[in-house]
């Protein structure tokens, strides 16, 4: 196991945790300078992608303060903008589900639309082709002819007995139907098999769904993640050898796969070693047994964050962090340009224009990943 300085560890004891806050501030340790330095930071920063699936990304962020990791998590949940159904105009609804329940349900359906395609919805704005996407939901249920009278399965007896998210059809408005990228990749639902409601013969729903761009702070339906979390890397330090007769019990005190057994050094007997600390749930079960007292020291690495981010479907998982970082930049830029205005009241406006011109040369941003 990698050797980690004690100052980077949150220490875990049987009944309490200690050394929780970071102490790498200037003036905290005599004779040590912890001033933030780009070179030191660049040397310590690590980012390892552990797993990427069509819907999730797990990555390790190492060498940053907890406030940065937490800001990224909070931004992912609440401040990355996506597009969701905001207004539902119900023309006909004879199903058993009330209009308002249906509308609330529709709002939560994740839509696979690039957020860059719309302008952010402003309060009191009027719907235009630049800020609204429209879907049509029109389904009626009928009895299927020539079905055996012994049949009891509604999906065989009736046509459209279940309304799925795939029944929502995009209705281009204004310019939308003429833009080549909209036509080649039309707005659609992220998953076609979400059950919206159930119908029986004679029942019908007909609604127009207006989708707008906003962020999760306004309502959770705009959150692009389901959900984003991090935990600290567990650290296990076996300080004294475990006798062979107790090794099985020691291994079982941790989550499966955390502790391994191997041939001891010098070829005599077996010894235990930390195989994969990441898998530990930090149950601290090992502290229950008096025979293991003083054998092991548990901790968590304070600046080693194990992120686990699951996309809700609007934004692919590998694009979530870059999107969050874009929001992060925008937030700081608000503060820094307001300060610039305070320090140099006229210079700030000019600089803003210059930076906008610089930005255009770097249009190649975004991810080029084929999955």
């Amino acid at each position: 196991m990698e050797k980690i300085e004690l100052s980077r560890l949150v220490q875990l004891h049987p009944e309490r945790v200690s050394h929780v806050s970071s102490t790498d501030y200037p003036g905290h340790w005599p004779g040590e300078d912890h001033t933030w330095d780009l070179e030191v930071f660049r040397h310590n920063l690590r980012l390892d992608i552990q797993r990427l699936t069509p819907s999730t990304i797990d990555f390790d962020l190492i060498g940053v303060d907890a406030s940065i990791a937490n800001a990224l998590r909070r931004i992912l949940i609440a401040e990355v903008e996506t597009i969701a159904i905001e207004k539902v105009f119900v023309w006909q609804n004879t199903s058993v589900m009330q209009d308002e329940v249906l509308a609330a349900r529709l709002g939560l359906v994740p839509l696979r639309i690039h957020p860059g395609r719309l302008e952010t919805w402003q309060p009191e704005a009027t719907a235009t082709d630049a800020n609204t996407i429209s879907f049509q939901l029109q389904v009626s249920c009928t009895r299927r002819p020539n079905v055996s009278s012994a049949e009891t399965d509604p999906s065989k007896l009736y046509e459209n007995s279940t309304v799925y998210s795939s029944h929502m059809i995009w209705q281009p408005v204004g310019q939308q139907g003429h833009l080549p990228d909209w036509v080649s990749d039309p707005p659609a639902v992220a998953a076609p098999d979400i059950v919206l409601l159930k119908l029986r013969p004679g029942q019908e729903v007909h609604a127009e769904l207006h989708c707008v761009k906003a962020c999760g702070r306004e309502h959770a339906k705009w959150s692009p993640v389901a959900t984003a979390t991090y935990r600290l890397m567990p650290h296990i330090d076996i300080v004294s050898p475990v006798p062979e007769r107790l090794q099985q019990k020691f291994v079982e005190s941790f989550s499966p796969g955390v502790i391994g057994r191997r041939k001891g050094q010098g070829g005599k007997g077996m010894e235990v070693y930390v195989k994969d600390a990441r898998r530990d749930t930090v149950s601290r079960n090992v502290f229950m047994h008096p025979e293991f007292e003083g054998v092991v020291k548990l901790g968590r690495v304070r600046d080693h964050f194990l992120f686990s981010v699951e996309s809700a479907g609007q934004i692919p998982p590998q694009a979530l962090l870059p999107e969050a970082i874009a929001v992060f930049r925008r937030k700081i830029k608000v503060v820094s340009s307001a300060l610039e205005e305070l320090i140099h009241p006229t210079a700030a406006a000019e600089e803003g224009e210059k930076e906008a011109a610089d930005g255009e040369e770097r249009e190649d941003g975004g991810m080029d990943v084929d999955l």
């Binding site: 001033t35 980012l47 590998q318 305070l342």
Partner: protein, 148 residues
């Protein structure tokens, strides 16, 4: 019941300033800064990195009321720079820091071929997002994070 409309959490009101600075008259080199329409996400980060600056003697923040979308930041410096200058330095620090994080993230995709796991955690059906790359021509006048 008493909560503001939710858009007021992030849109500046008419005539509202993003930042207001009140210099402290009783403590030397100290200022109280009110940042509108921001919450713990930004506040804690700024506080953390203010403390990493050797010119800062004190830095702390509070969100006075959970329903009021602003926070108050108190900074005292050792006199070699004003609180406003130190805060500007921290903004630059955070911008370079986040650029490094983004650089590392993109590096991961360039340097090695990432295997996309077929096995989905939490029993979700696999292959739900066959989306390819995420680059797309944006609207000509749309704001992008590279426009800053």
């Amino acid at each position: 019941m008493n909560a503001l409309p939710r858009f007021e959490l992030f849109t500046l009101g008419d005539g509202e300033k993003a930042i207001e600075v009140v210099e402290d008259t009783k403590i030397p080199n100290a200022a109280t800064i009110r940042v509108a329409k921001q919450d713990h996400t930004l506040a804690n980060m700024i506080r953390g990195y203010l403390l990493k600056n050797p010119k800062v003697l004190f830095a702390g923040y509070k969100v006075p009321h959970p329903l009021e979308p602003h926070f108050i930041l108190k900074i005292q410096t050792d006199g070699t720079a004003t609180p406003v200058e130190v805060l500007q330095e921290v903004c630059t620090t955070l911008l370079t820091l986040v650029a490094k994080i983004e650089g590392k993230f993109k590096e991961q995709f360039q340097q090695k071929e990432l295997e996309v796991g077929l096995e989905e955690p939490y029993g979700a059906p696999g292959g739900r997002l066959p989306r390819g790359d995420y680059t797309e021509p944006r609207r000509a006048n749309a704001m992008d994070y590279l426009d800053f």
